[in-house]
Amino acid sequence: MKKIGKIVTPVILLAFVLTTAVGSNRKAGNGKMPLKVPGNWVNEVWIPNSDSVNAVLRGKVVYKAYCLSCHQFDGGGVENLNPPLIKTSFVLGDKARFIQIILKGFDKRVEIDGEDYSNNMPPLNFLTDQQIADVLTYVRNDFGNKATMVKAAEVKAVRAKLAQ
């Protein structure tokens, strides 16, 4: 009995420590948990030092501020009004076309995977190249999407082309 107690008690204590750690992570919005990856705090979010992960996290902030109200938190859009961003050809396809939508807006009735959408999207050309690159990288890597990053230089190139 004693021997079992000597094993079980430390196990319980260990379990307690681990559960507390995990439990606090389950609380929504708790960013105060430093991950074991080098990085920095940015707006109470821990940004690990990795290009694409960085971009996705920064892009999510941009999405929340400029995109979420129409395209919704789950990228699902609104039927008949605002297109979804879930595995559509516009999101996963040609990057230059995707960048152009942010820079010029979208005011045409175009079928997107069999449906059409009637609300106008205004131009978001007031965002910086880096912000646009980040939000597109985010959209291409959330909502079930998985695709390559968009870099600020690519946005700059499209912007220059449109200005011609």
Binding site: G5, G23, K27
Partner: protein, 477 residues
């Protein structure tokens, strides 16, 4: 099994084991061994209980459980004779009301009408197999079966009057003569009553209603959200004088039986209405009533005046009683249901505080913002109890822009009326079309109410335009 249950079991079992262990320690000869063992196990017991309670407290519910009906699909005897379907809709209704699924059309069912012989005509937003109007015939069990279709155009509006079925596309209004049984005589040769109406990308649908004096009323919605120079562009100011109001943003009146009318032959009956999808003629005071879709995105467009939360709640969705010449104020004002005031729109110099008085009509009912009223119906029947007679049912399609709040609407509301005016606050009549309470995006809503009609027996029909479900709501004493 949920996490909290598991945690509780672990806690109980360990505590039980620990008590036995501590009992055995009292047989320990060495004093140090005994006290060390006791303190360690006491600590462990505390830890175990804390663990149990923290796991219980932080355990999130395993997702929202749906209140699905457990009624089987077998039939039971209904009030109106014969066998009737059980209620499998999952709708939340007042006491003594129940609903059945009349049909599942798998199409975008918008508005509908029911003839006095029980024939149902449903207008589709997009034709299905070349048919934009579906015809359903009632079955003995209360459901209805598609028996035909015609009209290769999408649209929303549909209305029965004086032996004709009127229906609208997104820029025209047609009518079909009916025989004595209420069947369309020449489905492939409608008469064109109105043509050439402005059709923007948004608010393009043309709901219709007729009065008792040979007129038809057509909604022509604003092609712009708030008449900005650049539509939905943050900070873009309103177009001076908002010229679109000459041909849109209002209700136009035409003759019900004249062919090929357009703007030149019609009258702008009421203006300053952003988009009206639900409208009806109130027979008790012979007046037009409309439900307006209020403007969007106050915060997105003018964040200096409106925070996210305010913008998710206002402006109100307004019911207006209209007479010829009325101006409801769009785009210059919006109605704030908390301040009970017409507010100057930021596009035209407003700042969230400036109010406007004396220029535009007030709503007669102001509903919560963004719920998207798509249907309005004055109840003329006698099946429902006295409180509902001549009252107004409103189908709220459900919001998309109430972030960060939960989305709202996805229900049928009711306003009691007396002598042609509201006689009490609005209430929820039928809820849970969406299938869940916790809607953060409209994609999560299973069904979204759109059209309303009254059957010959006084039952209320409701369409859903996501999957094309048709509901029939009845009262049983």
């Amino acid at each position: 099994m949920q996490g909290s249950h598991f945690g509780l079991l672990i806690g109980i079992y360990y505590s039980k084991f620990n008590i036995i262990y501590m009992k055995s320690l009292f047989q320990e000869r060495s004093f140090q061994g005994r006290s060390a063992g006791l303190s360690l196990s006491a600590l462990a017991m505390t830890v175990a209980l804390t663990l149990t309670f923290s796991v219980m407290a932080s355990a999130a519910p395993c997702g929202v459980t749906r209140q699905t009906s457990h009624l089987s699909a077998t039939h039971s005897t209904g009030q109106f004779g014969g066998h009737a379907l059980a209620d499998t809709t999952g709708l939340k209704l007042p006491a003594h009301f129940s609903a059945i699924v009349v049909a599942d059309l798998k199409a975008k069912a918008r508005h509908l009408v029911v003839t006095n012989k029980g024939l149902i005509y449903v207008k589709l937003a997009k034709p299905k197999a070349g048919k934009g109007i579906l015809v359903l015939a009632a079955q003995p069990d209360g459901s209805a079966r598609v028996v035909g279709g015609f009209g290769n155009y999408g649209g929303t509006g549909i209305y029965l009057k004086n032996g004709y079925l009127y229906a609208s596309s997104n820029n025209a209004v047609y009518r079909y003569q009916l025989d004595a049984a209420g069947k369309v005589l020449q489905p492939d040769q409608p008469q064109t009553i109105v043509t050439g109406l402005v059709m923007g990308r948004q608010h393009e649908t043309k709901s219709i209603v007729l009065d008792n004096d040979g007129h038809i009323y057509v909604n022509i919605g604003s092609p712009l959200n708030s008449c900005q120079t650049e539509d939905r562009m943050p900070g873009s100011m309103g177009i001076p004088g908002c010229p679109l109001l000459d041909s849109a943003g209002g209700i136009w009146q035409f003759k019900a039986d004249q062919l090929n009318q357009s703007y030149g032959q019609g009258v702008r009956y009421a203006t300053g209405l952003r988009n009206v999808v639900g409208l009806d003629w109130n027979q008790t005071n012979n007046t037009l009533f409309v439900m307006q879709h209020g403007r969007d995105q106050l915060h997105d467009l003018f964040p200096q005046y409106y925070d996210e939360k305010t913008s998710s709640l206002i402006p109100a969705e307004c019911m207006y009683m209209l007479h010829k010449g009325d101006n409801a104020g769009f785009p210059y004002i919006y109605y704030d249901q908390f301040k009970k005031a017409q507010m100057l729109a930021p596009e035209y110099g407003g700042d969230g505080k400036k109010e406007v008085t004396g220029k535009y009509i007030d709503p007669i009912v102001a509903f919560p913002g963004h719920m998207a009223p798509n249907g309005l119906l004055f109840y003329k029947g006698t099946q429902f109890p006295q409180k509902y007679r001549n009252g107004a049912f409103i189908a709220f399609h459900g919001s998309w822009n109430r972030t960060p709040e939960k989305q709202g609407g996805y229900l049928v509301a009711f306003v009691p009326f007396k002598n042609g005016k509201p006689d009490g606050p609005w209430e929820v009549f039928a809820d849970n079309f969406a299938g869940t309470d916790n809607i953060l995006s409209p994609r999560q809503a299973k069904y979204r109410p759109c059209g309303l009609a009254e059957g010959p027996d006084g039952s209320l029909y409701v369409t859903d335009d996501v999957k094309g479900r048709i509901y029939k709501i009845s009262y049983h004493n």
